[in-house]
Amino acid sequence: MAEIANYKVASSPHKTSEVTTRRIMLDVLIALVPCLICGVVFYGLYALLLVVISVAVCFASEQIFNLVRKKPFTFDLSAVVTGVILGLNLPPRAPWYLPLIGGVFAIVVVKMLFGGLGKNFANPAAAARVFLLLAYSSLMARYIAVDVPGNALSADIITAPTYLTDGIKAFSGSFLGVSGYWGYVLQLLFGMVGGSIGETCKIAVLAGGVYLTARRVIDWRIPVVYVLTSAVMVLACYGSASEILLQLLSGGLLFGVVFMATDYATSPKWRYNRILYAIGLGVITVLIRRYSSYPEGVSLAILIMNLVVPVMDKYILPVRFGQVTEKGKPVPHIMQWGMRGACIAMALALAVAVPLVALQPVEYQYILGSSVDASGDYVVDIGGTFRIGDWDQERAYTVTIDSETMRVSDIVPVKENSYGYVAELSLFIGKTRHEIAIMSGGDLSTDAETSATVTNTALRGMLIECFDYVKNEMEGGNNG
């Protein structure tokens, strides 16, 4: 028998799991492959070029930073993951220098200056996207329509609308033989709309999410609770059940949920903190989409919640096994039960409220009648009584809404009484529902007298309802 001689001593545990940092990053890359393929198929090889530039810049800038700081080179693939995510977040026809600037910003400013892998307080890809959105807002909107056969390497820009900026005019009439509301949902699901390279095809995003969850790379709590919270918030803020699916499936929500909100360094460590974090994300995302002038809220919400994460990690500690208070009583599991309760409450609220809202017949306050003219545009008669200048006064208009652009093309006053407070029609003509909805008091004030503002505000309310009515008519249903 050979003598054992060459054995070493080490501290327990002597066995460790096979999972390594690089394996985790590789799993994320594998999960991103379907999104990348869909992006390239939909938007052409130019989209691939953008992603490749982004990856190359991210990887190179990390190594250059290491070189300058005299640190060893890092090959843990995390820069590649950041690069792919940032690339997939770009619009398909962004100019080539956007991924370059974004990549340098993400890696050098957001990640390496704060200490590199695991030390950054904000998600590099989300921060870079928001930075590009602020610095190059027009270039960051170069969304094009899906054109599967036609676009190889062309960088032609034929800007296409997205649902979040332009509403349902982003959709084509029918898809796979399904028209109306479910046709829109299917278009969003398959990604047949304008949007960023990687985030339009929801099926690819979901496939990546399922893979990551099955490999236990990401915690399922963040995506599930984020989506659940968003659904409840959409229902509450938009008051419409049909809006839930459209909002959840449009923009970068699902992509952000799966790949950006679950980023390790910038999400909380304890599972119940993660639920709280996901609830915060859902609330902020929908609030931004609904009430701010930005149509897209996911990246911003992730950045905002990233700032709260260190505080949550520090002050909301897990309840230890058998932990007792100073009086010797068991410490109550407030976070556990609170978060579970919140999730159950949200799920129940959805289950109860969606059928109620959907089945409720839509009641319009101001719609008097409507017709479709020769060119397919909607002509809607609206009218109502408002308290203007201490008198109840009647106002009625005939509004024409272009069914293709979903903009107000004409407003004809029918009844405006003689006290002289006439609505400033030019304020509204040519605008979309979103543009009208975000008008503030200052925008509506056209006269030194407050009565004019009141009149304009009344017209704004009627127009918004008018848009909702037209949208509902176009969806061909009574589904709220």
Binding site: M1, A2, E3, I4, A5, N6, Y7, K8, V9, A10, S11, S12, P13, H14, K15, T16, S17, V19, T20, T21, R23, I24, D76, S78, G116, L117, G118, K119, D219, Y264, A265, T266, S267, P268, K269, W270, R271, R274, D313, K314, L317, P318, V319, R320, F321, G322, Q323, V324, G328, P330
Partner: protein, 426 residues
């Protein structure tokens, strides 16, 4: 659903060892350690040159917490020598030269089985907790009726180890008798045997053999299911408060082998001088369960089981919590349940890299600590922060280090923090 959160699921590797229990050959020389338990070392009662029989008292328990020690072989006491132990210190051992006559002496038979007589027999036989802690069993079972449930720790959650499984399968009736004696000793009304579900034969075997107030509880296969507080939660649904003992929750926990030793002491009048040890690992040619006499040097076991040259690490105990053996001169004691000869593939030496903040250690910790923050606090020597994150409650199970994708030395950090917090009373 009673259970604990966290934990990990390492590969079991329990099928390396065949069924049955072999016998390790008696060595020429045995080095009987005087300290095989928690508490004061025993006091030798033999002189150099004195002839002792197998089962003869060679060292008597000291005042306070301690345990008797018996000679595992018949032979002559050479001297009381300093010999290295697993902790790295030289401590006194009784060196006995084996004369292979195997003359033996037994404890006097018990006249009657009562709580007092069983307790005093357990104390007399020098039985200690054989799961690894080595707490004198008599002191543990002497609870003045404050415990109503006896939990038998048959979880054996560490990979590789199968010695408790072997006891349950090969000595079923004896083990159950031992459990009854333990119940008598501590005054418990019922006993729960908690077994992980990865041992279906043992569960089937015991389920058909148990009766009355002993029950078998199959447990989820999850490391550290056999940690005392986690086991109590899984078996009884009770939670032992921080800083309290299991008896404060009305529970006493004994290990399978301890119960078996109690049977041997009470009914076969055998004192505690040998035990079943699992020898396993890919660098062992003949992995098996063995009866090993205390004081057998590990070299003797390695030779009998064929330790291969590829052996990269020798571990006394399981791979999760066991200690690496630095010399084959170390001796088997009452608490050595397993000797692993691991090759390079089983215990890769990995290099620690940057924390990526994945939080896997926080999810894995069965005690609800935050190893990632404790590690960070220890590295900047902020022990107050480490304590706030719960470092002093660490049970050292190693789940955090096991799951860490960056291979950070988490449990090592937390154990260090716990030690320093204890020493400096932060």
């Amino acid at each position: 659903m009673a259970g604990f959160s966290g934990g990990v699921h390492p590969r079991g590797c329990k099928n390396l060892v065949p069924d049955g229990v072999g016998i390790c050959p008696e060595p020429e020389k045995v080095y009987v350690p005087l300290s095989q338990h928690i508490g004061a070392p025993a006091v030798p009662v033999v002189q150099a040159g004195e002839r002792v029989l197998r089962g003869q008292l060679v060292a008597k328990k000291a005042e306070g917490l301690s345990a008797n020690i018996y000679s595992p072989v018949a032979g002559t006491v050479k001297e009381i020598v300093g010999h290295i132990t697993a902790k790295g210190k030289k401590l006194p051992h009784i060196l006995i030269e084996n004369d292979h006559t195997d003359e033996s002496i037994f404890l006097p038979p018990l006249a009657e089985i009562t709580q007092e007589s069983v307790l005093s027999r357990i104390e007399e036989a020098g039985i200690v907790g054989m799961g690894g802690a080595g707490f004198p069993t008599a002191a543990k079972l002497n609870v003045n009726g404050r415990a109503d449930v006896l939990v038998v720790n048959a979880a054996e959650c560490e990979p590789y180890i199968t010695c408790d499984n072997a006891v349950m399968l090969c000595y079923t009736a004896e083990f159950l008798a031992g459990v009854r004696h333990c119940m008598t000793a501590c005054g418990a009304r019922r006993a729960v045997i908690g077994i992980e579900k990865n041992k279906p034969e043992a569960i089937a075997c015991l389920s058909s053999a148990v009766s009355g107030n002993i029950s078998v509880k199959p447990l989820r296969t999850r490391y550290p299911q056999g940690a005392e507080k986690q086991l109590i939660r899984s078996c009884t649904g009770r939670t032992v408060p921080e800083g309290k003992l299991p008896v404060d929750a009305g529970v006493v926990v004994v290990n399978v082998h301890t119960a078996f030793s109690v049977y041997r002491a009470v009914e076969e009048n055998l004192p505690c001088y040998e035990r079943i040890v699992t020898v396993s690992g890919r660098a062992a040619e003949r992995p098996q369960n063995l009866w090993v006499k205390y004081g057998t040097r590990f070299r003797g076991i390695a030779q009998y089981c064929g330790g291969r040259e590829v052996c990269a690490r020798i571990v006394s105990g399981g791979p999760m919590m066991g200690e690496a053996v630095f010399s084959l001169k170390e001796c088997a004691t009452k608490t050595v349940s397993c000797l692993l000869f691991l090759d390079e593939t089983e215990c890769e030496t990995k290099i620690s890299s940057t924390c990526i903040g994945c939080g896997k250690c926080v999810q894995a910790c069965p005690m609800g600590l935050s190893p990632v923050f404790i590690d960070a606090a220890v590295l900047r020597k902020d022990y107050a922060e480490a304590k706030r994150c719960g470092a002093s409650q660490c049970i050292g199970c190693g789940c955090c280090s096991y799951v860490c994708p960056a291979n950070r030395y988490l449990v090592q950090s937390v154990k260090l923090a716990k030690k320093i917090i204890g020493e400096r009373k932060i």
